[in-house]
Symmetry: C2
Subunit: 333 residues, 2 copies
DNA sequence: TAAGTTCCTGAAAACAATTTCAGGGCATTA
DNA sequence: TAATGCCCTGAAATTGTTTTCAGGAACTTA
């Protein structure tokens, strides 16, 4: 391809040393006006832009942070990423995103960018690797987690209290007088799913409602799985009078079944979702759901991560940010 | 932070030269078994992983490609990115994603990664910069566009024929006997929007239906804008009997209005969307829409981009891949 | 005038890797 | 025995930048 122009060419053209060019590039004060002028002129004429590979090597920093997600499909991540980007940008960092496609091998490959100094830090949003592996990596590298905690993982983590959130949602349904509450969740056990399910059980227990395994449907992540779940739960002899789904996607799928059966949502059957995705208030009836502070989680994890870069005693705490219940038509609100 | 172990340390520990270590790292054949053994042992003991800043600088390549998108919100991009990733990976490249948040300044900043050799190539998915700027950049750098073409922009581009696609959708509605067809589009003039609108007009013209500006609603990208658009069109004295929206999001918003008014979708009023997003067959009634070959567009643009890296005579053609109509309930299918 | 400052400058080292080149050791061939 | 070839090795050059260090010039101060 085209041969690049280097700092050397600029120096030659401007009749100064490369040190002076570098000084101009980095806006150092100790350069004469004449030199600044000449260098900028040369840069413009040659169309020079510095090679960051050289710079990054010398400085041993890239000012780039990698966000590792499963895929860009869940638009739910977008606010988290915005929080990360805005915070990073304010501190002079760029955020790059890479996807694992749910493959732990590929996740490890992407983490290689961290080990090989291609980025200064990395954030895992919903890791597929196990707690032990991540703990070990986080001990030696600038690695954090966001949205998803890992039981027994000693790494900087920013998330919400999913147990409490699940409990809050189900308690709300109970306070609405419901006693038979279905749960639609997934077989793939992300910690957040497990936590939400535990919240569901705690809410039942505290209210003296016996746990009935028949009311729990384990499926996949897709909306169609929600539809199947609802169908199965509603074909029980002793039907549920409310359903808590661990994601809005599942809840919307579930509602599709209820709608097609002519079930009156919000009265006959209540629905509670999780995530407050965009479609939860586009889909009719509007879905009651748990909202996470996405932007704030992104913001906080980047702040802590960047702090960690500058210290020998990195923070490996677990931060839990407050969630909130969004009440809409599907709970009769 | 922690002080890194370098190739030098490995060499010392393994009692060989750094050249030999490098040869082992790169799986060169001309190294004795003993040396390979010793080096690998040292690597393991020291927990060494090579610093890519050094490697990339020396090799003048990063084997990384940057995909620049507006935001990760539109899940629609995810298939394109999957196509890009799978193709890139097969050729030994990684794909990184960065978001512009619709800011041309930030888009330019991200392109800086290309100029500064931080990545080997970049793909713009829906650029905010103008055709002239991009043409100039593409002349000197490995830059391509995907999903969106730019009128008069001389850069490698992979997209679909949006004029034809709009025309196909509207022609289908006309063939269903509809004569008053509304259009819901956006004021923000992405080329694809303009093209789809032109397709709409061509379809009308070819079928001898006069163009009525009252039937065209210009709004924003959100579903609520679709709702407003539908409300406005349906309050006309001479109501439409079909609506073509330039995105599924707008179509779903529009359908929300129709549903709330008790309008019989698929009979009284037909709907045609664009993109075939996931929700177009989750939302009820299922939406007829235009499907783009997302994966294939991602695949093709990466193939061509990588080809371009290896030649002095880069391909700057416009490739248009075939689209297809997905017929569902909203057109009475 | 001598000594000390301040300002600006360029040569060279440093960053961590790959690659080139020359040569030592050994076996094969004439 | 000498010449040739092959295998393996390490020293040194190379990549593009930043940074350190030493020093020249001009100016101030005693």
């Amino acid at each position: 391809m085209t041969v690049s122009v280097t700092i050397k060419d600029v120096a030659r053209k401007a009749n100064v040393s490369i040190a002076t060019v570098s000084r101009v590039l980095n806006h150092k004060s100790n350069v004469s006006e004449d030199a600044v002028e000449a260098v900028n002129q040369a840069i413009k004429e040659l169309g020079y832009s510095p090679n960051f590979l050289g710079r990054d090597l010398r400085k041993s920093e890239t000012r780039r942070i990698l966000a590792i997600i499963a895929s860009t499909e869940q638009s739910f991540y977008s606010e988290v990423i915005r929080g990360m980007e805005e915070t990073a940008m304010a501190k002079g960092y760029d955020v790059l995103i890479a996807t694992t496609r749910d493959d732990p091998k590929h996740e490890m490959h992407l983490l290689g960018m961290l080990f090989s100094h291609s980025v200064d830090g990395a954030v895992l949003l919903g890791p597929k690797l196990d707690a032990k592996t991540i703990s070990e990596l986080a001990a030696n590298h600038n690695l954090a987690m966001c949205l998803e905690r890992l039981e027994g993982c000693k790494a900087l983590t920013v998330t919400i209290n999913n147990v409490q959130a699940g409990k809050d949602a189900v308690s709300y349904l109970i306070n609405k007088g419901r006693r038979r509450i279905g749960l639609i969740t997934t077989t793939q056990r992300a910690q957040s799913s497990v936590d939400r399910e535990n919240g569901y059980r705690q809410a039942l227990e505290e209210n003296g409602i016996p746990y009935d395994p028949a009311l729990v449907y384990y499926g996949t992540y897709g909306a169609d799985s929600g539809t199947r779940g609802c169908k199965e739960l509603m074909s029980l002899e002793n039907k549920p009078d409310a359903i808590f789904a661990i994601s809005d996607m599942l809840a919307i799928g579930a509602m599709n079944h209820a709608l097609s059966e002519g079930i009156e949502i919000g009265k006959e059957l209540l629905f509670f979702g999780f995530d407050d995705i965009q479609y939860s208030h586009i889909f009719i009836p509007h879905l009651s759901t748990v909202r996470q502070p996405c932007f704030m989680q992104g913001k906080l994890v980047i702040e802590k991560l960047i702090d960690n870069m500058k210290t020998d005693d990195p923070d490996r705490s677990l931060y839990m940010l407050p969630h909130s219940l969004i009440l809409r038509e599907t709970t009769g609100d």
